[in-house]
């Protein structure tokens, strides 16, 4: 597995804490479970997919919007790098 760009991690954390959790002070770590923990609820999954596509040009299909595809900031960052 390649190390993903730290800048992507930072942008993802910023987006998730601010826009999804609505709590910029939330201590989100790169390996915190997002989907399987319910931190990112099902209503926000589409938002995450739309944002990732707008920001990085990477399309996440609805069938991939689950914790098997990505469940952490680190995994989502790798997904983005691999599909760029």
């Amino acid at each position: 597995m390649t190390m993903s760009d730290p800048a992507i991690h930072t942008r993802l954390r910023e987006y998730l804490t601010k826009e999804v959790l609505h709590d910029p002070s939330y201590p989100l770590k790169d390996d915190d479970a997002l989907i399987s923990s319910g931190l990112v609820d099902s209503f926000s999954l589409v938002d995450v997919a739309l944002w990732v596509e707008d920001q990085f040009g990477v399309h996440i299909d609805n069938s991939e919007l689950n914790s098997d595809t990505f469940d952490t900031v680190a995994e989502l960052a790798s997904y983005i790098e691999q599909h760029k």
Binding site: D23, S25, Y26, S36, S37, G38, D41, F43, L50, S63
Partner: protein, 558 residues
């Protein structure tokens, strides 16, 4: 419509066996399309499996399944045996298995189902629910695909007034109040509601609503099937990841009716890309029906504007007021006309509890009508001593009809408490004007988040388990979110620490515990010092007073 639910399906199959009845959509396998006769055959197959497991008439059969075909056939299979089906949600990935077990244990203890019917997909979760060392144990039946054998008795033991099904709200609190409905009440509701919508066998319902919810079960399932119309059903888990699916299915099957909670109007309007709307045609729709949470005028405007190029206008956006206790609909706006909007004076509404028509736009509030009562339904608004209030005075909405619940299952106490002189006290606040019902909110502390009922006491109990939070010194309430077209859960809790890092940790833990232990995520969290919360004379935390205090003093802060 008379007799029992499955007698009705049998009658419809005899009339036109090859007519398409139900289409079940999957994202990971081909769709399943069943004619009336094939559906009945599949139901018989499931009924055989339930019968082999020892299901008897009047047994409660709790259904926890993920597979749509299995779910719909198990429901009617149990019904065919004269048993009482009740569909409950399966445990989602995020839910703490212990919390799920505790909530379900409360239901199992009270309702004592004879059978837990599951499927291969969620069987292991259901097996984890069995109580330890108890003399009472429900039997677990894992329903398999195609199967058919001889059936001893096909619903003939049931009479029309017997309980046909139970409906539950979610959470520990909701699971302890199963609304028991008779076959007769269901048919009477469907006849009255069909008349209000001029709903016929030619209609096509497209739905993603869950069947453990009254809107999904009645409007999005029983109404099309028992009327002999056509149902296209998808899973809420698929829809929430690809909301355009709903619009594509309406297009493909010339859908005519679609029931949605208010947030879904915003969700569809805001979260579907232009490219995913290619080929969409919604002109076949006779009505979208907004129901099960407060209706925002702005949500209709947003939806109508976004989908105008595809054949939607405000005259297609109707509103319904419904509850499980009346089977479903209480009132419905007219199909093919925009819902009436009442502009009332905000100050009179807030201070005097009177909905006076507004004289200027500046100080007005727009309240969307929930329509007029359907046939056989009486609606009145009463004050706290149950005296009837005149038009435009705000009070509690009370309803009465011949199609009410039989009882709250095994809860004589709750059944008696719910009625006053033959009228069911809804707990909803509102007013009447020219026979239109206007619903303003809840008398009881109940949140409706994305169409789901959430009992604040369940979330407060979860929050009280977090270290650093004073147990019982927590209040949960709804905070309106017009942008999302629903309300968010807000939580205020007393803590001792003033240390920022420690408070951040408490916040994170509160979010985690509530996500894992309930159906919702909490959006707003306020931590306050000891003694900040307002208490009632009996020492309990007063939710609505604290809500007002938080919104006035803290809402501007993050």
């Amino acid at each position: 419509m008379t007799g029992t639910l499955t007698q009705r399906l049998t009658e419809l199959a005899a009339q036109a066996p090859d007519r398409e009845l139900i289409r079940l959509l999957y994202t990971d396998q081909p769709e399943v399309v069943l004619t009336r006769q094939r559906f009945l055959d599949a139901i018989r197959g499931t009924a055989c499996q339930l019968q082999d497991a020892g299901t008897k008439p009047n047994d409660l059969v709790v259904i926890v399944q993920r597979d749509l075909l299995s779910l719909v056939t198990t429901f009617f299979g149990a019904s065919m045996l004269g048993a009482i089906p009740s569909i409950l949600p399966f445990a989602t990935e995020k839910l703490d298995p212990n919390r799920y077990r505790v909530a379900m244990a409360a239901l199992l203890d009270l309702a004592r189902p004879a059978i837990l019917a599951t499927d291969e997909l969620v069987r292991s979760d259901v097996e984890g629910l069995l109580p330890d060392g108890d003399s009472y144990l429900p039997r677990i039946v894992t329903i398999q695909g195609e199967f058919s054998g001889p059936l001893d008795n096909e619903s003939h033991q049931s009479n029309a007034d017997a309980t046909a099904l139970l409906q539950h709200s979610s959470g520990t609190t909701g699971l302890q109040k199963g609304v028991a409905l008779s076959h007769r009440a269901i048919f009477e509701q469907l006849e009255a509601y069909s008349a209000a919508l001029s709903f016929t066998q030619d209609d096509v319902v497209v739905s993603w609503l869950p069947l453990y919810h009254d809107m999904g079960l009645i409007a999005g399932f029983l109404m099309p099937l028992l009327t002999g119309a056509h149902l296209v059903l998808m899973s809420p888990f698929d829809w929430v990841r690809a909301p355009q699916m709903l619009l594509h299915e309406i297009t493909k099957h010339r859908g005519t009716f679609c029931w949605l909670p208010n947030f879904a109007y915003n969700f569809c309007a805001q979260k579907i890309r232009d490219r995913d709307l290619e080929g969409i045609d919604l002109s076949s729709i006779r009505a979208f029906v907004n129901c099960s949470e407060p209706v925002y005028d702005a949500s209709h405007d947003l939806f109508a504007e976004r989908f105008a190029p595809y054949g939607v206008d405000l005259s297609k956006l109707t509103v319904c007021y419904a509850m499980a206790e009346t089977v479903f609909a209480v009132s419905q706006t007219q199909v093919d006309a925009p819902a009436r909007v009442d502009e009332v004076d905000r100050a009179s509404l807030r201070q005097e509890n009177i909905a006076r028509p507004a004289s200027t736009d500046l100080s007005s509030e727009r309240i969307v009508s929930c329509g007029t009562p359907i046939r056989g339904m009486d609606v009145k608004v009463v004050d706290t001593s149950q005296a009837v209030l005149p038009d435009r005075q705000v009070g509690e909405i009370a309803v009465r009809s011949s199609y009410m619940l039989n009882e709250y299952y095994h809860r004589t106490d709750a059944t008696e408490a719910a009625f006053f002189d033959g009228w069911y006290l809804t707990g909803d606040l509102g007013y009447l004007a020219d026979e239109h019902v206007f619903v303003l909110g809840r008398k009881k502390d109940l949140l409706i988040v994305g169409g789901k009922n959430v009992y604040p006491q369940d979330l407060e109990a979860l929050a009280s388990t977090v270290e650093g939070v004073h147990p019982g010194r927590v209040a949960v309430f709804g905070v309106p979110n017009p942008q999302a077209g629903t309300e968010d859960a807000g939580l205020v809790a007393e803590v001792d620490t003033e240390d920022e890092a420690e408070q951040t940790a408490v916040r994170a833990e509160l979010r985690r515990v509530i996500s894992n232990g309930s159906d919702v995520t909490v959006r707003h969290i306020w931590l306050v010092p000891r003694g900040w919360l307002i208490k009632t004379s009996s020492g309990k935390v007063a939710r609505s007073a604290n809500r007002d205090k938080v919104l006035a003093e803290l809402m501007a802060q993050p």
